[in-house]
């Protein structure tokens, strides 16, 4: 009989994710991904003012803290045919780019690294040798023997106190950890440095959006005005702060994040075998970072399209408004559809009714042969596809983006790996690092354009013409899309008489973490885990490596819409 292995909670992610898998011997035959928390945010959006929607939608997730806000304002602007000033477009690019860099660095060090880095082993490192290693790969200044010796002492003091806190009960010493003590000490030091670094660079969001997490957005532009002669607008002081953050981001990416990725990857090449941790072979990008307007797809830094069967020679066109292309299914999810549980729906027609048929908590196992997740199963033309950094880097590579080709080729050369090794757990993690480098370079370009516009006298940041709902058509619908750090994200909105009547968010982690569909096709996580061999099923570090390589964001992935308003529950408090 096949053994069932369960990992719940999956930690070092956003949200509530549970993985169940069946083992044949020590090999995973089938994996099942379940989102175990639902809030109902899209339902809550019904009846609201579309201009308010971004704030609600943004709270889908506090890690991808601005992406849902941006997708939301874009959906309203698409529905109302509401153009925004070029400066607002540039400021949004800068905010979104900053989110990528911040999010990817934190994912690498604080969520993913400890799958590969053994903190306890770092105690055995020779600080001098660690310094030699660090200085051989980077010009980062914090690399002296004394620095690493201090970091090691700090770590030692912590461990010897006997209260391991967040590091308790981990799989330290597991044979899957391959790094020498010096690489471990370097990575642990950078774990702490990155915590400090990220705190400073979010200043960019605070400048444009007032705070981080959850910076402010505005339908029709951005809320921060530009006035070089005001003490309370984007002035020279503010621009200088933004420039400083852009420098700090680029510096950390180039001198710490990229070199660390290369060093760590060089010890884990067995995780770069084609198909190991990459199961679907289908990849999709919506495209983003317009240099002109959001409707000018050709001006995007990240192109749009679908790659099937790992064939980089052919890119399928993608249309977010085509009712036959993107559909969400619920046959294995805890929802019902009015058209029946087996049929998919395009998001404009999207609906959901809670129908929890899972086991009553507390439970040991899910009923994996029935419905088993609060996530839906989105499909493109009926196919499961992967979204995210790997999809984007493949799309850039396939469309022969010069920087991407150079980065990918030189990385593979350094690691002595073939191009096929991109289709793997390690390929996904490396793709994230490489796209961060591309974004960190693009930031300067957007900033220079912004400064150039101001120089020419264009300080406009908001278009007032369609702000008043009296100017809107009585019925309108639109889609706001973006490439979020975790992949293609889109919000579909339907507006009637100035109010939201339907709102659907189909998000990256639903594409990747969603369950099986009516045809029993597995989602991206599920396919990626199939075939993994576990050294010890009680310490399934292999599952964590591949799941973390996707950077799960489960609060994002679980949602509902209920236009019938049939599921609301009134809570009376005595």
């Amino acid at each position: 009989m096949a053994e069932r292995i369960i990992v719940d909670p999956i930690t070092r992610i956003e949200g509530h994710l549970r993985i169940e898998a069946t083992l044949e011997g020590n090999t995973i035959s089938q994996a099942y991904s379940s989102g175990t928390m639902v809030r109902g945010i899209e339902n809550i959006l019904i009846g609201r003012d579309p201009r308010d929607a971004w704030a609600f939608a943004q709270r889908i997730c506090g890690v991808c803290t601005l992406v849902h806000g941006l997708a939301s304002v874009r959906s309203v602007e698409d529905a109302l045919k509401y153009p925004i000033p070029p400066n607002a477009q540039l400021i949004r690019n800068l905010m979104s780019g900053a989110q990528y860099i911040h999010d990817h660095v934190m994912h690498f060090y604080h969520l993913h690294a400890l799958d590969w880095v053994d903190v306890v082993s770092a105690l055995k490192a020779d600080p001098k040798a660690t310094s030699d290693l660090a200085q051989s790969i980077s010009s980062w200044s914090k690399s002296s023997p004394g620095y690493f010796s201090d970091m090691q002492k700090k770590l030692k003091t912590f461990v010897e106190q006997g209260q391991l806190g967040i590091f308790a009960n981990a799989y330290w010493g597991h044979p899957a950890y391959k790094l020498p003590p010096e690489a471990n000490l370097m990575a642990v030091s950078h774990y702490l440095e990155a915590l400090n670094w990220q705190r400073d660079v979010v200043a960019l969001h605070a400048i444009f959006g007032g705070k981080n997490p959850h910076p402010n957005f505005l339908v029709g532009g951005v809320a921060c005005p530009i006035d070089l002669n005001s003490d309370s607008a984007l002035n020279m002081k503010r621009l200088a702060q933004v420039q400083d953050v852009i420098h700090k981001m680029k510096e950390f990416v180039e001198q710490v994040y990229v070199p660390d990725t290369l060093v760590i990857a060089s010890f884990y090449k067995d995780w770069a075998k084609m198909g190991h941790g990459e199961g679907l072979g289908n990849f999709m990008t919506y495209g983003d970072f317009p240099s002109k307007t959001i409707n000018d797809v050709d001006s995007f830094l990240f192109p749009r399209g679908v790659i099937l069967n790992r064939d980089l020679s052919k890119i399928e066109p993608l249309d977010l408004n085509d009712k036959d292309q993107i559909q969400e299914q619920v046959s294995r999810s805890w929802y019902d559809y009015s058209v029946g549980k087996e049929k998919g729906l395009h998001p404009y027609q999207g609906e959901t009714k809670f129908n929890y048929t899972g086991p009553q908590p507390p439970y040991k196992q899910l009923e994996i042969e029935k419905s088993y997740s609060w996530m839906k199963a989105p499909r493109w033309k009926g196919k499961a596809v992967e979204v995210g950094p790997l999809a984007r880097m493949l799309m850039l590579y396939a469309t022969k983006n010069a920087q991407a080709v150079e980065l990918v080729d030189s990385t593979l050369k350094k690691l002595e790996l073939p191009i096929e090794s991109l289709f793997s757990t390690l390929g996904r993690t490396a793709a994230r690092t490489l796209e961060t480098k591309i974004i960190s370079d693009a930031m300067q370009g957007w900033f220079d354009q912004l400064v150039g516009n101001i120089k020419k006298g264009d300080t406009k940041t908001f278009n007032e013409t369609l702000w008043n709902p009296n100017t809107w058509a009585s019925k309108a619908q639109g889609v706001g899309f973006m490439e979020a750090p975790r992949g293609g994200l889109a919000h579909w909105i339907v507006i009637e008489n100035g109010k939201i009547v339907n709102y659907q968010a189909v998000v990256p982690s639903t594409w990747n973490a969603g369950p099986r569909d009516a045809q029993n096709q597995a989602g991206a996580y599920e396919m990626a885990l199939a075939g993994h061999q576990l050294h010890d099923s009680k310490q399934p570090i292999e599952i964590l490596r591949t799941i973390h390589s996707f950077d799960p964001c489960i609060a994002c992935a679980v949602h509902l819409t209920d236009t019938e308003n049939g599921n609301a529950i009134e809570i009376k408090v005595c």
Binding site: V7, P9, I10, T11, R12, E14, H16, T36, M37, R39, N43, I44, D52, F56, G62, V63, T65, M106, L111, L114, V119, K154, T157, F158, E160, Q161, Q163, G165, I166, A168, N169, L195, Q198, R199, V202, A203, A206, I207, G210, K211, P213, H214, N216, L218, P225, I226, A233, F354, P359, Q360, P361, K460, F462, W467, Q539, N565, N567, A568, I571, V573
Partner: protein, 364 residues
Amino acid sequence: MNQLSLEERLRLHGVSRRGFLKFCAATASLMALSPAMIPRIAAALENAKRPSVIWLSFQECTGCTESITRSHSPSLESLIFDAISLDYHHTLQVASGDAAEHAREQAMKDNWGKYILVVDGSIPLGNKGFSTIAGISNVDMLIETAKGAAAIVAVGSCAAFGGLPKANPNPTGAVSIDMIIKDKPIINVPGCPPIPVVMTGVLAHFLTFGTLPELDHLKRPKAFYGQNIHDRCYRRPFYERGQFAETFDDEGAKKGWCLFKLGCKGPTTYNACATTKWNGGVSFPIESGHGCLGCSEPNFWDAGSFYAPLSTPIGHVAQNAGYALAAGALAGAAIGFANKQKSSQAIEKHEEITVNDLIKGETK
């Protein structure tokens, strides 16, 4: 493994024995205790472990966790390395699955009656299956973990007031922590998310003074939620003069005039944004041109559009602000807590005492 006492840890940070005893004396004075108590305090502190903190995440977006990582002082790393033992926290802890759950159970067992429970996210009462961790419903896990807690800190508007999940029509039947737990001290630290240093500040208060900070009628610490944003806002003088931004990006918006007419909820929102500001004091929403959403107030999601003015100013604007204030004050009858008397005594004899005040460099 041997565990370092507070004194040993302080010594590692360069604090001398004399400095340590001085700290104990200051603590005794702060707590209005006789000098005879100093050796006893010293003895208690010498054996102190870092207090255990268990952090549960329910119906949440992880924005509160993200926010606490942005805290400058104390920073998250100084908290978890030097001040607390963060024994369970989904986003940060290394262990997953059973190993993670064992960490929670072990921390509860080892620190029964003493650990601090931090909760973010609301609790769905509509169906236990709406939110589970390790197959356990949120409500069951909360009740079980709260039992041995010394105090509960509800961070974020979801845990404190139900937040976004509770917004109309509340599809999952979401409630706040204090709707479920009635027999423990609860501190609400609302905000969507709370200001980073407010979260760490509340924990630091507890660790430094051993008491809960004084709270208002909504269980919010007065130090951070005692004043509304409007009263502390640098744009307040423009409100008084009747100078408003009429739309985004107009002359008034550029000059930093009051955002009241663009829907700013500063007058009815009690939070420290205008004084503490965000992200190392860089800015706060109003300073960056957008009105306050009111995100630390109960039910702010259902309080009308974020862009609708609180009321249309008719006649003298300052008077309208006065009404708003009166409404806030009416609701503001503070509830007394066991520590109240103690803290007022402490306030009378207050001396600023932190570890940083101790004499350094006289080790041994």
